[in-house]
């Protein structure tokens, strides 16, 4: 026998294409509690069964593509790896905070991507390219752990009050995590240039170690630690 339970959703709705302003819409969904439903599964069911106009992004449905970050009962997270069983029966869902809303749960991530691009998130190595791989010791490779796993979902950066205030000037935790990923990569020889690029009152130093980023990261990464490392490295340069 399937054990049926009811879930109550309150979901942020906005479509510039119709004449309504922003509102919260309620949906009730019945589900079998033995089904191990994730929040994304519930949203898909709302879209399929109750309301095809509800818009949200999704792709891999396993927490690696970073499409379905949203604000779930006040906290940013990925819908696809948030089990319904971890949530109360009443679930409020809003788009990621601090960014313009395109429609419903879809936000405009342009400034987030711009801040990522700003840190030159690619390896710079001006030495002649060897015939085979560049060597890297397992210890040096280990320094990349905690950085390269970032999925660019935006949960951290849009949870950061410093980013809300200065989205155009403060790089934000996701971008800075990648800045540090290349600073600590033994194969990269542009460390000085990278640090100098970030040396102004805003890019890095607007981080006030509030640590919302660490709190919400669905991959359990620690951008604050990376930001502190950038600050420390900056102290070493004249």
């Amino acid at each position: 026998m399937a054990k049926v339970n009811k879930l109550e959703f309150s979901i942020y709705r906005y479509n510039p294409d119709d004449d309504k302003s922003v509102y919260m819409q309620d949906y009730t969904l019945e589900f079998d509690i033995e089904q191990n439903l994730m929040l994304l599964g519930a949203l898909e069911r709302i879209k399929d069964e109750l309301d095809p106009t509800l818009s949200f992004r999704r792709s891999c449905r396993e927490g690696v593509c970073g499409s379905d970050a949203m604000n779930i009962n006040g906290k940013n997270g990925l819908a696809c790896i948030t089990p319904i069983s971890s949530l109360p029966r009443k679930i409020a869902i809003r788009p990621l905070p601090g960014l313009p809303v395109v429609r419903d749960l879809v936000v405009d991530l342009e400034i987030f991507y711009k801040q990522y691009a700003r840190v030159k998130p690619y390896l710079i190595n001006r030495q002649p390219t060897p015939k085979k791989e560049r060597l890297q010791s397992p210890e040096d490779r280990k320094k990349l752990n905690g950085h390269y796993e970032c999925i660019l979902c935006g949960a951290c950066t849009t949870a950061c009050p410093s980013f809300w205030w200065n989205p155009d000037k403060f790089v934000g935790p996701a971008g800075l995590l990648q800045a540090n990923r290349f600073i600590v990569d033994s194969r990269d020889d542009a460390e000085l240039e990278r640090l100098q690029d970030l040396q102004d009152p805003f890019s890095v130093f607007r981080c006030r170690t509030i640590m919302n980023c660490v709190e919400v990261c669905p991959k359990k990464l620690n951008p604050t630690k990376a930001i502190n490392n950038i600050k420390k490295e900056m102290l070493k340069i004249k």
């Binding site: 095809p52 927490g63 060597l135 890297q136 390269y148």
Partner: protein, 584 residues
């Protein structure tokens, strides 16, 4: 024609590993490129690839690209084209080194070289001892690869149309070439006719034709549908890989790397059953072999069952917590999230799950799309290329080896880019094609009553799962085909309930379903015709491979007709690998 238009030298559709590698190759050529992607590039499904990219670097053990080639030909059950396999294996090491130079964070050996792990179907000396050939970034190789390529695209300043959807191709006025494509901005609803000297389809897989798949929700065979509707053909669509280890009930992939690192499968009696099916390599046999073995164990009552889901166990806890955390951290995360099992302590419940399409749009190894004329002769389609999972070049034949997919993306992405470095001429587009596409598009908006897309999608997926799965018979497939025919008719009358222009995912879902239906029908018609068992296509009514009659590619045409095409048996620098019995 009443929409905006623009022209480019090359339009690449899809920004996964294949599309981005193609774009990157072209970034230095000074050409005007548009990289179109229905999702932001790093959301593409390459991100989910786990175990690695196979190339004969020989970092751990002696190796040779010819051994890799032998394994790939044998793995393909001899249906792979040997000229293309030769090209891929020979270029493998170079493209992997290139990725490393771009910054891909490969795991490392103590001497600082790229870490490699053993994968299924790999051997040294043409079928002797197990080889160690798959280069890995822990168990997140696809993620590392996709992000590295996107970073390079950023660096190169490539023009990306993020969250744009390609609806259909536009032919030239003489119908001999492809001249452009009609695009839709998901965010604004704007339509654009993009004229191009060349179009590259890099749209990935179509695993969502099945109920249970490791594929992302975006893998809907868009390139397959577009190519077929532009009067091209699809090749070997009966060949679908069922990955042996998808998480039971959820479908998420559990990398073959688990078995490469020393994990193994157990049935409910605690028996390591692969010893019976593949005595010499056991759990590291080819994927088709392992998937069939699991299916037989379950069918004969030796599987586990929980809440109606049947499965076998994948045991890796004996590898130790340290190895699991270092080599398989992503698997541990997925297993805890979706199977509620920490593999450090307990086995992971797994079941064969639809994973990869070996078939696709036939191409040569420059990525040029090929169709067959009335006399079954190959003909290059001017202005159209295909690369990656949507293409069938064919390096995977009837069964792909683990780690060869990422390799396929970068080798042939690069090759396609190199071939496009020489500019071709614009051809004159047939604007009637554009009007036809717009008519279809507006008709979809005006259907007020009719069929519900959700019912059609679910029924299609169930039909494919029930009738075109690991084991197939004529009778069951015929039944499945009848249902598919009805569903395809119903799809003609589908209703679009949301007609908003802004980020309308309802519209995209329906456009995607149209492409999924093409992939499903192509699979069904091709599978019914192939009356033998080869690789992933396993027929209970024709259990043996039949090289006399069936060592040939299946070609599916727009009108559901099937024809055939020769397998290339002529590598350039090495003797042909002659088909022999395939044992592991």
């Amino acid at each position: 024609m009443n929409i905006a238009n623009d022209s480019f030298d090359v339009v690449i559709i899809g920004a996964g590993g294949a599309g981005m590698r193609t774009a990157l190759q072209l970034s230095q050529s000074g050409q005007n490129i548009a990289l179109i992607s229905k999702v932001f590039p790093t959301r593409s499904h390459t991100v989910s690839a786990q175990g690695g990219i196979t190339a004969a670097l020989g970092n751990i053990d002696s190796d040779d690209w010819r051994w890799h080639m032998y394994d790939t030909v044998k793995g393909s059950d001899y249906l792979g084209d040997q000229d293309a396999i030769e090209y891929m294996c020979k270029n493998g090491p170079e493209v992997v080194y290139e990725l490393e130079h771009m910054g891909l964070p490969f795991s490392r050996n103590d001497d600082g070289t790229i870490y490699q792990r053993p994968f299924g179907g790999q051997s040294k000396n043409y079928g002797k001892e197990q080889a160690t050939r798959t280069c890995a970034a822990a168990d997140r190789t696809g993620h590392a690869l996709l992000h590295t390529l996107y970073q390079q695209i950023l660096r190169a300043g490539t023009k990306v149309f993020s969250e744009w959807y390609a609806i259909d191709l536009v032919s030239s006025i003489d119908k001999d070439s492809i001249s452009g494509v009609v695009l839709l901005s998901i965010e604004t609803g704007e339509l654009l006719f993009a004229k191009a000297r060349a179009i590259v389809l890099a749209t990935g897989g179509a695993g969502n034709i099945y109920q249970s798949t490791t594929n992302a929700l975006i893998n809907t065979g868009d390139g397959l549908g577009m190519a077929l509707r532009a009067n091209c053909v699809l090749q070997d669509m009966e060949m679908w890989q069922f990955h042996p280890t998808g998480i039971a009930g959820a479908g998420m992939l559990v990398t073959e790397g688990c078995r490469g690192e020393g994990g193994y499968l157990l049935n409910k009696d605690g028996v390591r059953f692969m010893e019976h099916y593949a005595p010499s390599v056991k759990d590291l046999a080819s994927r088709d072999v392992v998937s069939r073995a699991i299916a037989i164990e379950i069918r004969e009552g030796r599987g586990f069952e929980l809440n109606g889901v049947q499965y076998v166990d994948l045991k890796i806890d004996h590898l130790g917590e340290e190895t699991i955390k270092k080599r398989l951290p992503g698997i541990r995360e997925l297993s805890i999230q979706f199977a509620h099992v920490d593999p450090v302590e307990k086995a992971i419940p797994v079941v064969p799950t639809c994973h990869y399409s070996m078939g696709g749009i036939p191409t040569n190894f420059h990525g040029q799309v090929i169709k067959t004329d009335r006399n079954n002769k190959d003909k290059i389609v001017n202005g159209l290329y295909a690369v990656g999972e949507c293409a069938c070049v064919s390096v995977h034949g009837a069964n792909r080896l683990g780690g060869n997919s990422l390799l396929d993306l970068v080798v042939f992405g690069r090759a396609t880019g190199m071939h496009l470095e020489k500019k071709s001429e614009y051809t004159t587009p047939d604007l009637a094609d554009v009007d036809k596409i717009l008519d279809f598009y507006h008709k979809l908006e005006s259907n007020k009553t009719g069929e519900n897309y959700v019912d059609i999608r679910h029924s299609m997926q169930k039909t494919m799962q029930d009738h075109f799965g690991v084991f197939r018979t004529q009778e069951s497939m015929q039944e499945g085909l009848v249902s598919l025919g009805e569903l395809r008719d119903r799809l003609e009358h589908v209703v679009l309930k949301d007609t908003s222009k802004i980020f309308n995912t309802n519209r995209i879902t329906i456009l995607e379903l149209r492409n999924l239906m093409v992939a499903a029908c192509a699979t069904a018609y091709s599978a019914i015709e192939r009356k033998e068992s080869r690789g992933a296509h396993s027929r209970e009514d024709y259990p043996d491979r039949d090289d006399n009659n069936w060592l040939k590619h299946t070609i599916y045409h727009l009108d559901d007709l099937i024809s055939y095409r020769n397998v290339n048996m002529s590598p350039k620098s090495i003797d042909t690998f002659i088909p022999k019995e395939r044992v592991y």
